[in-house]
């Protein structure tokens, strides 16, 4: 793939464990954890929960774009599969345990990822983008027309609140459920996803993905089974995105095929790009920024699409793979360098 993204700084894990970045991350999580308890603001809590679900999805998406160098325009398929699995399994089998549902959703999304991945990893660049788009849209059309009788078409399906290890938390009112319990579930999953991916992407596996992104031919020559690694990357990515979808299904409480549509894929791409696809944490910042921007734009104008489109356009032309987070990092380095010079 000729599209080049910059190399990631290859910091030793031990060194990086004790630097300011880790402290900042832990600090941010403490703030996030305390926020609903201290303010008790249900609207803000809901917004944060929403951001965190998409942060997980954008992180998962960036495994394919940022690390493996493939632009997928079909990740709505995995997000939507995660969402639909939760509600379909809950309604069909009567399983109401949150963790079981989430794990099943991740498996289902992983299977869809394996199928779409197996069909598309041989293609390159725009063909990969267009093929993932076509396959995901196929799923969307089947969901809209309710083929198989699972999705109830455009009417969508309502989601009831799941329990937790036999504790009947679903009996709480919707607001208490979110602010007092579910918010923390999402926060825990986000933290777990960040830590897990941090290690996975710095393992030999993650480095191999980057190698494929940087120079596919060289990777092939050194004996890396490129296609198989691309497939692994798709499956991992789909599983993480499915997790985001499954968690989000319970936040919104109502699922429609819109979540499988290509504009949804576009939003996930947008989030990752906004934050910076060449950085590890960029997608998290991007998801938060995207939703914040959307809420702000909606508050002042009904034409929020225009605002978002303009932001996307400017980001692509100026910051590219660095995104907002990479831009901030570059700026910080430059300021630090200047201070050293003096």
């Amino acid at each position: 793939m000729s599209t080049r993204f910059p190399t990631f700084q290859n910091v030793e894990i031990r060194e990086s464990l004790l630097n300011w970045r880790l402290l900042a991350a832990v600090g941010l999580f403490v703030v996030l954890a305390l926020y609903p308890a201290v303010t008790g603001n249900a609207y803000h809590t809901r917004l944060l929960a929403w951001m965190m679900c998409f942060a997980i999805a954008a992180l998962g998406f960036n495994i394919v774009l940022g690390y493996t160098g493939l632009l997928s325009f079909g990740h709505a398929a995995f997000f939507g599969t995660g969402m639909y699995t939760v509600v379909i399994v809950m309604n069909a089998t009567g399983i109401t345990d949150l963790l079981v549902l989430v794990v099943l959703a991740m498996i289902a999304a992983g299977v869809v990822g394996a199928i779409i991945g197996a069909l598309s990893v041989k293609t390159h660049e725009i063909y990969f983008a267009l093929l993932t788009l076509a396959l995901a849209q196929l799923l969307y059309v089947l969901a809209v027309r309710d083929v198989g009788g699972l999705t109830r078409g455009t009417d969508g399906i309502g989601v009831s609140r799941p329990d937790f290890f036999g504790v009947p938390v679903s009996e709480l009112s919707a607001t208490v459920y979110l602010v007092g319990f579910y918010y923390y579930v999402i926060l825990t999953f986000l933290a777990a996803t960040i830590v897990a991916l941090w290690f996975v992407l710095r393992s030999p596996f993650g480095l191999t993905l980057k190698m494929i992104r940087e120079n596919e031919t060289r990777a092939e020559m050194t004996g890396v089974p490129v296609l198989r690694y691309r497939l692994y990357s798709m499956i991992l990515s789909a599983t993480v995105v499915g997790l985001g979808g499954a968690l989000y299904a319970i936040v919104v409480g109502h699922i429609t095929p819109e979540y499988l549509d290509w504009t949804m894929s576009g939003e996930i791409v947008f989030m990752a790009l906004l934050g910076g696809i060449g950085t590890f944490l960029g997608p998290v910042i991007g998801a938060g920024g995207f939703i914040l921007l959307q809420e702000l734009a909606l508050a002042y104008t009904e034409y929020w699409h225009f605002t978002m489109g303009l932001v996307l356009f400017v980001i692509v032309l100026t910051l590219r793979e660095k995104g907002v987070w990479g831009g901030v990092k570059t700026l910080a380095t430059r300021v630090a360098d200047r201070r050293d010079d003096q």
Partner: protein, 302 residues
């Protein structure tokens, strides 16, 4: 099945193919000649549709003559959009020509979002449709064709599509602009080196391409409403057409538009639940087994 029904399906397929041709021909030309993958192309199809409804509904007080109405659709709207897109090419699209296709896709996705809201700002979010008094398809009525009655207006649309396809072919084969365009699709820098103003050719090709999309949108509305979903539907359909036909091929667009038009028409008649699914499945199968499409990796008119 009676032969009349079958002819009806074939006719609908041809009409749909004509619309797909307009929506996708510019997309493939801009990609083939100028190396720009413009996701926002179909937004101009949607824009043409809105502009047509608005113009037809406002012209009613002045005239309801069928010839004038058809001239508005076929000439006035494409010319307006031609001028507008020349300005856009110089401003919004100019920086996109030098970046990688993947980023072009993302930046033009941003352009779709912007155009989407500009349309909503001008014409509102709810669908609008042509008034009965100025609807050329009602005025023209239907004609007898091989023993079955078909819409005269739809026949007119098919005729215009055929004329445009032939016109484009002749332009590429006979005119200087066409020759230069073909050379540019082969080697952009070499053409520049020969002292040809490639920027002027670029603006012309881009504007012709966008105007053709707007023409398609304008011809589309007497039989359908102008709604924000038109753009989003046609983004996907036009990508399906150019991928199946082969990116950058005029012949490919014609063949793929006919194929998808017929598939959809047959699908609506026999498998209404999965008619669109067939289109996307077809697109996926082509990319998997023949990524270059039917006529890809060749010149524009080969």
């Amino acid at each position: 099945m009676p032969i009349g029904t079958f002819l009806g399906i074939a006719f609908d397929g041809l009409y749909f193919a004509a619309l797909l041709f307009f929506a996708s021909i510019g997309l493939t030309l801009v990609f083939g000649i100028l190396n720009l993958l413009n996701m926002a192309h179909a937004a101009f199809y949607g824009f043409g549709a809105y502009l047509a409804v608005w113009t037809l509904n406002n012209i009613g007080d002045v005239t309801t003559s069928t010839v004038v109405l058809l001239a508005i659709l076929v000439l006035a709207i494409p010319i307006v959009v031609f001028v507008l897109s020349a300005a856009l090419d110089k401003s919004v699209f100019a920086p996109l020509y030098d970046i990688e296709p993947v980023y072009q896709l993302l930046a033009t996705f941003g352009v779709i979002l912007m155009l989407d809201d500009i349309i909503k700002f001008i014409w509102g979010a709810s669908p609008i449709s042509v008034d009965a008094a100025t609807d050329p398809s009602r005025q023209l009525g239907s004609i007898e064709l091989l023993g079955s009655s078909v819409s005269a207006y739809r026949s007119f649309v098919i005729l215009i599509a055929v004329l445009c396809a032939v016109g484009l072919y002749l332009m590429f084969v006979k005119t200087k602009l066409g020759k230069i365009s073909q050379a540019m699709s082969e080697d952009y820098e070499m053409v520049q080196m020969l002292g040809i103003n490639v920027n002027r050719v670029r603006v012309l090709i881009f504007s012709i391409s966008v105007a053709l999309a707007a023409l398609g949108g304008a011809l589309f509305v007497p039989f359908a409403v102008a709604a924000p979903s038109v753009t989003l539907d046609y983004v996907l359909l036009s990508f399906a057409v150019i991928v199946i036909g082969g990116l950058g091929s005029l012949k490919g667009v014609v063949v793929a538009a006919l194929l998808i038009g017929m598939v959809r028409s047959l699908g609506i008649a026999f498998f209404p639940a999965i008619e669109l699914a067939i289109v996307f499945a077809l697109m996926a199968v082509v990319i998997i087994f023949r990524p270059e499409g039917f006529f890809g990796h060749r010149g524009v008119v080969e």
